[in-house]
C-alpha cells in the first residue's frame, strides 16, 4: 500500500493528476481562508483573507532568488576542493 502511495508522487505517468490535485488543494485552501471568521487582532495582516497564501508564495520566491544571488554573487559558493 505504502509502495503505491509513494509511487503516485514519483511516477511520471501521474504528473497530470498531481497537477490537478495541487490546483484543487490550492483553490480549497484559498477558499477556506476567505470563509473562516476572523477576530480582530494586533496586526493588519490578520484581517486580510488570503494573506497566508500570498505571503507564503512571496516568501518562498524571495528565499530562492535572494539566497542564490548571495551564494553566487557574494562568493559564498565555492568548488568542493576549496579547503583541500
Amino acid at each position: 500500500m505504502m509502495h503505491r502511495l509513494i509511487n503516485f508522487f514519483g511516477d511520471e505517468k501521474y504528473l497530470k493528476i498531481r497537477w490537478r490535485l495541487l490546483l484543487l488543494v490550492l483553490a480549497l485552501v484559498l477558499l477556506a481562508d476567505f470563509l473562516v471568521t476572523r477576530h480582530p487582532t494586533a496586526h493588519f495582516w490578520d484581517a486580510i483573507p488570503g494573506w497566508g497564501a500570498f505571503f507564503g508564495f512571496i516568501s518562498c520566491a524571495v528565499i530562492i532568488f535572494v539566497s542564490k544571488f548571495i551564494g553566487k554573487k557574494g562568493g559564498i559558493m565555492k568548488d568542493e576542493d576549496y579547503y583541500d
Binding site: 481562508d33 473562516v36 494573506w51 507564503g56 516568501s59
Partner: protein
C-alpha cells in the same frame, strides 16, 4: 529511593560497563538502560537533591523542576530512539560515547549549580566529538578536531564567566543572570562571557559553523544523537539564565533566516538538515529573548518537538547514506521506488518541522510566533513566518525531491534494517501524536498554557503559507537544482584564516626571528665569546692564584701551630713567661726612649 537516583548516573555508569557485554546482551543493554531512564524520569518530582559542600562552595547536583522535566522527558525518549536506531552496531565504542554524551546532557538539565553544569558541559563536548571521530577518514578527523577546538574554547569562556560571576555574587547556584548599571564591571563581563558560550553551543551565527561543519561528517547513527542534545541543552540553559534578554530576539530571528538562506545553497543532505537545526533553534532563541510565559512555554515545547522531528529527519537521511554510501543531492534521486517506507517516515518528520496542522511543529512553533506577535515585534513575527516557508521549502520539498524523487541516480537500494525503520516509526508516532493531542505536551510545560493552536484562522492561514510555498517550489524548481559546490561559512576564519595566520607565523615572524638570530650570532655572540675568554684568563691568573696563595699560607701556618701545640702544660707556661718577658722588655725599651 528513585528520586535520589540521577538519570545521568544510570547512563554514564551503564555506558562505562557496556564494553563488558558482547553480542546480543550488548544490544539488549543498550535498550534496557534508556528504558530505565524513561522510568526514572517518570518517577521524578520537583525538588532539590544531592547537595554537598565542596571547598566552601555549596553544590546542587540534582535539581528537578517542571522546566528541567520537559527536557528530561524528551532526552530520555530520544535516548531510547537513538539507541534503537543504532542497534545494528556490533562494537561498543560509539555506544559508550553516546551514553556518556546523553548522561552529561542530563547532568546539565538537572544541574543546580554552575560547577556541575560546567563539568557536564565539558563531558558532553568530548563524548560527542567521539561520534564524529568514529566516522574515520580524513575529513571526519579534521572536522572532529575543529569541533573540539571550538567547544573547548567555549568551555573556557564559560569557566571564566562562572568564576567572575561567583566572585561578584558570592554564589555558584545556577539561576538567571542580569545586567545593568547596578552590576559591577566583572558582573557584566560574566554576563557576556556566559552568554557567548551558551550562544556558541546553540549555534547562533556567527558561532554556528561548528555544527554544519561537523554533523554531516559524523557517523550515520552519531549524527542522530548530535542533532538532539548539544543545541537543545544550550536552549535549556538560555531559558534558565537569560529569559527576556532583548538581544536574543534579534539573534534568534537572524538565525532562523540564516539557516534558510544557506540551506538553498547546500548539496550535502545532512549539512542541509544542519542548517535547519540553526534555523529552528532560532525560533527557540527568539522565544527566550521575548521572555513572556507564552514565549518560554513555546521555546520549551518547540525544543521537545524539534528533538523528535529533527531526529527523524536525520534518521531518514542517515538511512539513505547507510544504504547507498552517498550523501550529495547531486548523486542521489529516484530512491522512492525501493525505499517507500523511508520516504513516508521522513516525510512525517518533514511535515512536523514545517508545522503542518496535526503535526508536532504546528502546536509548538506557533506559540513562539504568537508570543512574538503579541509581545511587541510585528517584524520579528513576519520574519519568523518567512523562515517557516523556507523550512518547508528545504526539508519538506527540496531535500526529499532530490534525494528520493527527481532525476533517477540508478541506485536501487533496499529499505534500511528493521531497527532503523522502527526507531523512525516511534519518532513519527510522536510527531503525529503531539500534533493531534497537544494537551499532553502542554501539561508538561513550565507555565500554565492558555493557548489554542487549532483555531480555524490559524489552520487556513498556515495551510495557505505552506501550500503556496509548494506552488512556488514547483514553478521555480529549476532554479533550485543542487550544485557541486560547498558554501563558505564562518568556519572559513579558522580553516582559511588559520592558513593566513600560519603564513604570518612563517613569513614575517620567522624572518624577524632569523634576523635577530643572525645579528646575535654576528655581533653579540662573538663579543660575548671574547669577553668570556678574557674573564676566564683573569680568573685563572689572578683570582685562582690569590686563592691558592691564601690556601698555601694557611696550610703552612697550621702546620707550624700543630708543631707548637705539644699538649704539655709546662711548655705552654714557658711560652707564656717568654711572651710576658718579651712584652715587658719591649715596654721598657719604649719607655726608656731606646726605640
Amino acid at each position: 529511593m528513585t528520586e535520589w537516583f540521577h538519570p545521568a548516573i544510570t547512563l554514564i555508569l551503564g555506558g562505562l560497563l557496556l564494553p563488558l557485554f558482547r553480542g546480543q546482551s550488548l544490544k539488549a543493554m543498550s535498550l534496557i538502560l534508556p528504558a530505565l531512564v524513561i522510568y526514572q524520569v517518570s518517577q521524578l518530582t520537583p525538588g532539590t537533591y544531592g547537595q554537598l559542600d565542596f571547598a566552601g562552595i555549596s553544590l546542587v547536583m540534582f535539581k528537578v523542576d517542571k522546566l528541567a522535566l520537559v527536557f528530561g522527558w524528551v532526552f530520555a525518549i530520544m535516548s531510547f530512539i537513538g539507541n534503537l536506531y543504532s542497534l545494528h552496531l556490533e562494537k561498543p565504542g560509539q555506544r559508550v560515547a553516546a551514553f556518556l554524551y546523553m548522561g552529561s546532557a542530563f547532568g546539565v538539565v538537572f544541574a543546580g549549580d554552575w560547577f556541575t553544569l560546567l563539568v557536564s558541559w565539558e563531558v558532553m563536548a568530548f563524548a560527542s566529538a567521539y561520534l564524529i571521530f568514529a566516522a574515520q577518514g580524513d575529513p571526519a578527523i579534521r572536522a572532529g578536531f575543529r569541533y573540539l577546538m571550538i567547544h573547548v574554547a567555549g568551555g573556557v569562556l564559560l569557566l571564566g564567566g562562572i568564576v567572575l560571576h561567583g566572585i561578584d555574587s558570592g554564589s555558584y547556584l545556577f539561576g538567571p543572570l542580569q545586567t545593568g548599571p547596578d552590576m559591577s564591571p566583572q558582573g557584566n563581563l560574566a554576563y557576556t562571557l556566559i552568554m557567548v558560550s551558551f550562544m556558541l553551543n546553540a549555534a547562533v551565527p556567527p558561532l554556528n559553523a561548528w555544527l554544519t561543519d561537523a554533523y554531516p561528517e559524523a557517523t550515520v547513527t552519531g549524527a542522530v544523537f548530535l542533532s538532539a542534545f548539544t543545541t537543545k541543552t544550550a536552549v535549556y540553559v538560555l531559558i534558565r539564565t537569560y529569559p527576556g534578554a532583548e538581544v536574543l530576539v534579534w539573534f534568534g530571528v537572524m538565525m532562523a533566516l540564516y539557516g534558510v538562506v544557506f540551506a538553498v545553497l547546500e548539496n550535502d543532505c545532512r549539512r542541509l538538515l544542519g542548517y535547519h537545526i540553526v534555523s529552528q533553534v532560532g525560533y527557540m532563541v527568539a522565544g527566550v529573548g521575548i521572555g513572556t510565559e507564552l514565549a518560554l512555554n513555546g521555546t520549551a515545547s518547540h525544543a521537545f518537538s524539534h528533538i523528535l522531528y529533527k531526529g527523524l529527519l536525520f534518521m531518514g537521511a542517515g538511512a539513505v547514506i547507510h544504504m547507498t554510501g552517498r550523501r550529495k543531492l547531486t548523486e542521489l534521486g529516484g530512491l522512492y521506488r525501493t525505499m517507500p517506507w523511508t520516504v513516508a517516515l521522513y516525510m512525517i518528520g518533514a511535515f512536523a518541522i514545517s508545522a503542518f496542522p496535526f503535526f508536532s511543529g504546528f502546536v509548538s512553533k506557533s506559540m513562539v510566533i504568537a508570543a512574538a506577535a503579541g509581545d511587541h515585534s510585528a517584524t520579528a513575527a513576519l520574519l519568523l513566518t518567512v523562515a517557516s516557508s523556507g523550512t518547508f521549502l528545504h526539508t519538506g520539498l527540496k531535500l526529499p525531491y532530490y534525494m528520493f524523487f527527481g532525476k533517477d541516480c540508478g541506485l536501487r537500494p533496499k529499505e534500511p534494517p528493521l531497527n532503523m525503520l522502527l526507531a523512525m516509526g516511534i519518532a513519527a508516532v510522536f510527531c503525529v501524536g503531539i500534533g493531534v493531542f497537544p494537551g499532553y505536551l502542554y501539561d508538561l510545560l513550565p507555565y500554565p498554557v492558555d493557548f489554542e493552536p487549532y483555531t480555524a484562522v490559524h489552520i487556513t492561514e498556515s495551510l495557505g503559507i505552506l501550500m503556496f510555498t509548494l506552488l512556488a517550489f514547483v514553478l521555480f524548481l529549476k532554479y533550485l537544482d543542487p550544485e557541486n559546490t560547498i558554501s563558505l561559512d564562518t568556519d572559513w576564519l579558522y580553516r582559511r584564516g588559520a592558513r593566513l595566520f600560519m603564513w604570518f607565523a612563517h613569513r614575517p615572524v620567522l624572518a624577524w626571528e632569523q634576523m635577530v638570530i643572525t645579528l646575535g650570532d654576528g655581533l653579540g655572540l662573538r663579543t660575548v665569546h671574547r669577553l668570556s675568554k678574557e674573564s676566564m684568563r683573569a680568573d685563572t691568573h689572578m683570582v685562582d692564584a690569590a686563592v691558592n696563595g691564601v690556601a698555601r699560607l694557611s696550610l703552612a701556618t697550621g702546620g707550624l701551630l700543630r708543631r707548637l701545640q705539644t699538649g704539655i702544660v709546662s711548655h705552654y707556661g714557658l711560652a707564656m713567661v717568654v711572651g710576658l718577658m718579651v712584652m715587658g722588655g719591649f715596654y721598657l725599651l719604649v719607655q726608656g726612649g731606646v726605640l
